[in-house]
């Protein structure tokens, strides 16, 4: 349809636009959208409790009643479930509507306790606000209110106060519809209706914090924020979460210069307002009393506090000393947990000093080459006809990406084709889930894609491959071979890389990646083990925890003369360091970060850095001055501008407004291709179990351990096998068994798990209790172990 306007220009009218009138004002609406969504773009606010734009409407609270003209006169409808229609006339504030809305509010308040002064929600409560704006002003309810036991813990983190609950179905709908964890539900009926968990089953969802955020009253509260602050004394700033590489937009809130809460911000391209519990609650680690607050220097066998000038001078001396033996005597590991600017400052310093051995990925990532393959955004991934997963369990590692892909498969008819060695959180939603034994992925991918059924599916439309290192007991090349097979069959596929640690993309682009053909983190450590690295600089990296092969790390650290660590905590890798410099943590510094799709957005400072800790980029600058290697920047802004002009990938990042909201996509270099390799099948012994080692959401990550609300959730290390394999081993669940390879043994409890394929054994990485790392050997393609009963 086209319309010619008075100037004579043709205006193309979108056929999906519907003209409606709200309170006598014309409004353009989208076909199929509900009245309330259209009204949200006007000044006429329709009160609501159950409606949430990211979830299906249920029409439960009845607060959003409006009048719509019909041939039989005005009819009262709920605006959250009534779609717009051409010529529709909507009135949101007639006497009838007002009376109905006041009535519903009076009824909602009838049984709602008036404990606002002691309720965490008081001051930011939709019920409170709308009782003022649309309520009757007083209640005629003189009966006794409903009574329930005051807050009951429904999970480790979340508390439920059923007296405050107005039964809007938001939390229960979220759990079922968005998270896929229907662990809370309505029980009883009528006046006794209440939200509850099932008996003996806690609300142990990775996404439980979202229910607290969307609760329109104070019925759901979370342990980390309960009674910590009142909304009116919160300071807040918008930022980007860097707990994982999804990069969810958040609001960072503080009170008395302490972080007290993160809330999800709804941006279309990334998180839709959702957050995972780890990202939401690990701010506690920033407030931790264990934080490093002053520089430390080795004094005998102990670390002693010192001043910044002494610490920087000794660090400079150690680096200078090592550089005497050539620039390859110094190596830099880490940098993916900081900002782009932090990484860029360190890269500048390394350039000045000629240090080419640097790697922000710690042996568990993918070669930076794949960032130059055609990249998909999260939106493109979720819009693809076929989403191929060759990745770790996204629910465990990139939880909000899991939500987005689950939504795509459930509601948008995208089909998931999953290749994995173990059932993942997305397996139930996969169109086809194809299991493979570690080592066989390239072969399985080739065979699967050759089937007529799969070929037809791949021809249906866009294909996006979500690729990452699914198994830490596996060599990187196996994943790359499988990816090469995929791209050979589907050359037009775009890829979405799954990255561990928040800012791998940014750090790599900024230059913290191997230069001039020098090796990656594993090569650096291997070289160090032969005594060729004298000085190792750790940028927020803890190889003892981050690198899977602990034997290699131990051998390397035994040979490295000097370790300089820039970190927020003392950990195993810097406990014996020569110099430890305290770094400012998330929330204590400004800058930008880059998520897995290459989206650059800002992180902001909300509180003062603890003690004398400083952002990494300042440390790099100061250390440069001590070394006589001035990187030539004196402010973050200068550094940022320099980064934009020097690094091609960041050249698109001049748009400050965009960086402060939805983010800006990086510029990608010329695309590369990766070549196929001959398929080698890896023989195995049927008495052995092939290891699958992967991360879970709650492991011994520093930020989890140092957050008191989360640390209790971390489970003990155990090995998991298929129930039939457990029967074959001949022990009951929980029995300790000996798991060994070539004389290296660990003793660990064994459990049955239906998601583990037969003949394989799953070991979650970095859990409390037994250290499983001695079993891992980065040099071999795969790891086969024998599981023996201890007699």
């Amino acid at each position: 349809m086209t319309i010619v306007d008075p100037v004579g220009e043709k205006i193309v009218v979108d056929p999906n636009v519907v003209n409606i009138t709200i309170n006598d004002k014309p409004v353009l609406a989208r076909k199929g959208e509900f009245i309330i969504a259209a009204a949200d773009r006007t000044d006429d606010f329709i009160p609501r409790f159950c409606y949430h734009p990211r979830m299906s409407s249920v029409g439960m609270c009845r607060q959003c009643l409006v009048e719509v003209e019909t041939p039989r006169g005005p009819m009262m409808v709920v605006s959250c479930m009534t779609p717009v229609a051409e010529g529709q006339i909507v009135r949101t504030a007639t006497d009838t509507v007002k009376k109905a809305q006041e009535g519903v509010l009076e009824l909602l308040l009838a049984n709602h306790p008036l404990d606002c002064p002691v309720c965490d929600k008081g001051g930011e409560c939709p019920l409170q606000d709308q009782a003022f704006s649309h309520g009757p002003g007083e209640s005629r309810f003189i009966e006794e209110k409903r009574h329930y036991e005051k807050p009951i813990a429904i999970s480790e983190i979340v508390y439920l106060d059923r007296e405050r609950c107005i039964l809007c179905d938001r939390c229960t709908r979220f759990a079922d519809e968005v998270a896929g964890d229907p662990l809370i539900s309505f029980t009883s009926r009528g006046n006794d209706t209440q939200v509850l968990t099932f008996p003996d089953e806690p609300f142990s969802s990775y996404f439980s914090g979202n229910t607290v955020q969307i609760c329109p009253v104070g019925a759901l509260t979370a342990k980390p924020y309960r009674f910590k602050a009142r909304p009116w004394d919160l300071d807040q700033t918008e930022s980007t979460c860097t707990s994982c590489s999804v990069g969810c937009r958040i609001v960072v809130q503080s009170s008395r210069d302490e972080l007290v809460r993160y809330q999800g911000v709804d941006i279309d391209p990334v998180n839709w307002g959702w957050l995972c519990d780890r990202g939401r609650y690990n701010f506690e680690s920033v407030n931790s009393t264990e934080r490093l607050t002053t520089p430390l220097i080795k004094d005998g066998s102990e670390l002693a506090t010192t001043s910044w000038s002494v610490a920087l001078e000794s660090a400079a001396r150690l680096i200078r000393l090592a550089l005497v033996n050539g620039s390859d005597s110094v190596a830099i590991l880490g940098g993916a947990r900081g900002t782009n600017e932090d990484a860029f400052a360190w890269a500048l310093l390394a350039d000045q000093l000629g240090i080419s051995q640097r790697d922000a990925q710690l042996g568990d990532g993918l070669t930076p080459e794949i960032f130059n393959l055609p990249q998909a955004t999260i939106d493109e991934t979720c819009a693809a006809s076929t989403i191929i997963l060759l990745s770790p369990d996204l629910k465990e590692e990139l939880p909000v990406l899991y939500l987005r892909i689950r939504d795509a498969a459930q509601k948008r008819k995208s089909r998931i084709v999953e290749f994995s060695s173990r059932d993942s959180g997305l397996t139930p939603y996969a169109w086809r889930s194809i299991g493979f034994e570690p080592g066989q992925q390239a072969q399985v991918v080739r065979q699967t894609l050759d089937t007529p059924e799969m070929s037809e599916q791949l021809r249906r439309g866009d294909v996006v491959v979500v690729v990452g290192r699914a198994n830490l007991a596996e060599n990187e090349s196996l994943t790359l071979h499988a990816l090469a097979e995929l791209l050979h069959t589907v050359p037009n596929a775009k890829i979405l890389p799954v990255l561990r640690r928040g800012n791998v993309r940014g750090a790599v682009a900024a230059g913290l990646t191997p230069q001039k053909n020098s090796g990656d983190a594993i090569d650096i450590l291997t070289k160090a083990a032969t005594g060729k690295v004298e000085c190792l600089i750790l940028l927020g990296a803890d190889p003892f925890s981050d690198v899977a092969d602990s034997t290699l790390v131990e051998r390397a650290f035994a040979q490295i003369k000097n370790v300089i660590s820039i970190d927020t905590f003392v950990n195993r890798s810097n406990r014996n360091a020569d110099v430890v410099l305290p770094a400012a943590a998330f929330g204590e510094k400004n800058g930008t970060t880059t998520n897995l799709e290459g989206r650059v957005s800002n992180v902001t400072q909300q509180i003062t850095p603890r003690g004398t800790s400083r952002p990494d980029w300042i440390i790099a600058t100061e250390l440069g001055l001590s070394l006589g290697a001035d990187i030539g920047v004196s402010s973050l802004d200068e550094l940022h501008q320099k980064m934009i002009s020097c690094v091609v990938e960041f050249s698109s990042c001049a748009n400050v407004a965009a960086i402060q909201s939805d983010g800006v996509l990086m510029v990608h270099e010329t695309p590369v291709t990766i070549s196929r390799s001959p398929i080698v099948s890896i023989d195995r012994n049927s008495y052995n179990y092939r290891l699958v080692v992967s991360r879970t959401m709650y492991d011994k990550a520093q930020s989890t351990v140092a957050s008191q609300s989360l640390s209790g959730i971390i489970t003990e290390a155990a090995i998991y096998v298929h129930p039939l394999d457990l029967a074959r081993i001949g022990v009951v669940e929980g029995t300790s068994v000996r798991v060994g390879i070539d004389g290296t043994n660990i003793v660990i409890p064994v459990n049955a798990n239906n998601g583990v394929h037969r003949g394989t054994a799953w070991l979650p990485y970095n859990h409390t209790g037994v250290d499983i790392r001695p079993l891992l050997n980065i040099a071999s393609d795969i790891v086969d172990v024998r599981i023996e009963v201890i007699k």
Binding site: V58, M60, R62, V78, M81, F186
Partner: protein, 466 residues
């Protein structure tokens, strides 16, 4: 007084016409043997011998009205499903739980095969691929009889693959409810059948005909509606429309309870039989118990606004009962004589609806209980005159605007036609208010006698002489 009815095919002259209750007189009416001996499954044979669209047309032309409460013509309802969308379902609403209604229970207990045959004919005519029979949880005998009948019919080849040698195949699945009034509402019934909490869905977008069970086109029919079909198939449209009136042809079953001499289920002629015939007619209830005076009656199940003796001469015809301010509903008449304690009667009904609210819509969940608590206070003797106004105001939050009411000129009321406006999804909420509103408007003096007058103590500021 005995009434003689016009002779119609299928009836013996002078008999009351019996379309759905014809086998009730036999002790073994529920067995396949008896059913076959009394023209059983003949209607199905007749239907299968003709094209499906002709059968559909017959049902349309016969204007078989839905007997569940809304009175929507079944043939028209079948036509609302989108064509060529598969699978499509028939769901039989046997969750009869409206207070005072027990006609479907008797149909299922006494003549299960007639219902099964009706299901088969409907599925054939409307081109449905699967049938679900949802029976209320509390009806143990009905469940047992229907289950046995289904087994007999399967064994005899009336259900299953290639029924009676035709190309028509269908399965009937029996589902027992768990006992919730609101599941009688068709969308809540579908939710329950899917294994979810029985809560109504909003129409639109969930019109079962287009988006019903498992998101597929679904026809939800009442038990009695379907029980009419075998007779219609055997005797034809003309015979069916010869009984009753043009707008309400055939017969309908009415369950009468309360203060009458002979309570029970009666098959009456649609559209012409009046409430007076039913309550006072010798062949029906035979008058008020102990020859007391009639005080009020509920014409169509617990949620219908009440009628007073002035309206006794209204016939069972929706087009007359609706404008008079009530509804025929589910075919249940509750009779109250002069000894009835009206506030207590209203409380009994309101308690039922408040208790049965599913808890979804705020006005019903909170308002229903609030109404009940105010009423209980009044019945217990601790209410005040302000409570009477409060009842009406709480009711207005559930049903804003004028409430439908039987015209009663003595009270200066004008009849407002049924249905009411409501702020809830389904009728459970308004149903909690309907008895309160009727009782309070028609018998206000009984309430006033129960409450004490609230004395307002004038407040004077300290130090100010008044």
């Amino acid at each position: 007084m005995s009434v003689t009815y016009a002779h119609a095919p299928g009836f013996v002259a002078g008999d009351r016409p019996k379309i759905v209750t014809s086998r009730f007189e036999f002790a073994d009416s529920y067995t396949l043997e008896r059913y076959l001996a009394t023209d059983g499954y003949k209607g199905l044979r007749a239907a299968l011998s003709r094209p499906a669209n002709e059968i559909h047309d017959d049902v349309k032309n016969a204007t078989v009205l839905g007997r569940g409460g809304a009175g929507f013509p079944a043939g028209t309802k079948w036509g609302l499903t989108p064509q060529q969308v598969w699978p499509r379902y028939l769901v039989v609403n046997g969750d009869e739980s409206e207070p005072g209604t027990y006609k479907d229970r008797l149909l299922m207990e006494r003549d299960p095969h007639q219902l099964i045959e009706g299901c088969l004919i409907a599925s054939y005519a409307a081109g449905l691929s699967q049938c679900f029979l949802y029976i209320r949880g509390e009806m143990a005998l009905a469940q047992e009889r229907v289950a046995t009948a289904l087994n007999e019919a399967y064994a005899a080849g009336y259900i299953g693959k290639n029924i009676l040698g035709s190309n028509f195949s269908i399965d009937i699945i029996l589902h027992w409810g768990a006992g919730a009034y609101v599941v009688g509402e068709e969308t809540a019934l579908i939710e329950s059948l899917e294994g979810n909490r029985g809560m109504p869905r909003l129409k639109p977008p969930f019109f079962p005909a287009a988006n019903g069970l498992y998101g597929q086109p679904t026809i939800v029919n009442n038990v009695e509606t379907l029980a009419n079909l075998p007779w219609l198939m055997c005797n034809g449209v003309a015979a069916y429309t010869a009984v009753g009136t043009k707008t309400s042809p055939g017969t309908r079953m009415v369950a009468v309870s309360g203060h009458v001499k002979r309570p029970g289920v009666f098959e009456i002629i649609n559209g012409t039989t009046t409430f007076r015939d039913l309550i006072f007619g010798e062949e029906f209830c035979g008058g008020i118990k102990d020859d007391n005076k009639l005080k009020a009656f509920v014409p169509g199940g617990g949620s219908a606004p009440w009628f007073t003796p002035d309206q006794l001469d209204l016939p069972f015809e929706a087009s007359q009962v609706g404008p008079a301010g009530s509804m025929l509903g589910s075919g249940a008449v509750m009779v109250m004589d002069e000894t009835t304690d009206i506030p207590a009667a209203a409380l009994t009904l309101t308690h039922f609806y408040a208790h049965e609210s599913c808890g979804k819509c705020t006005p019903c969940r909170e308002g229903g209980t609030w109404l009940e608590r105010i009423l209980r206070r009044i019945v217990d003797g601790s209410g005040t005159d302000a409570d009477l106004q409060q009842l009406l105001e709480v009711g207005a939050m559930i049903c804003p605007g004028d409430f439908p009411h039987a015209a009663n000129e003595k009270l200066g009321l004008k009849a407002v036609p049924f249905p009411y406006k409501m702020t809830t999804i389904c009728f459970v909420g308004p149903s909690a208010f309907a008895p309160v509103h009727s009782a309070l408007t028609l018998f206000r003096s009984e309430f006033e006698a129960r409450v004490t007058k609230r004395v307002t103590i004038p407040v004077t500021a300290v130090g100010v002489s008044s």
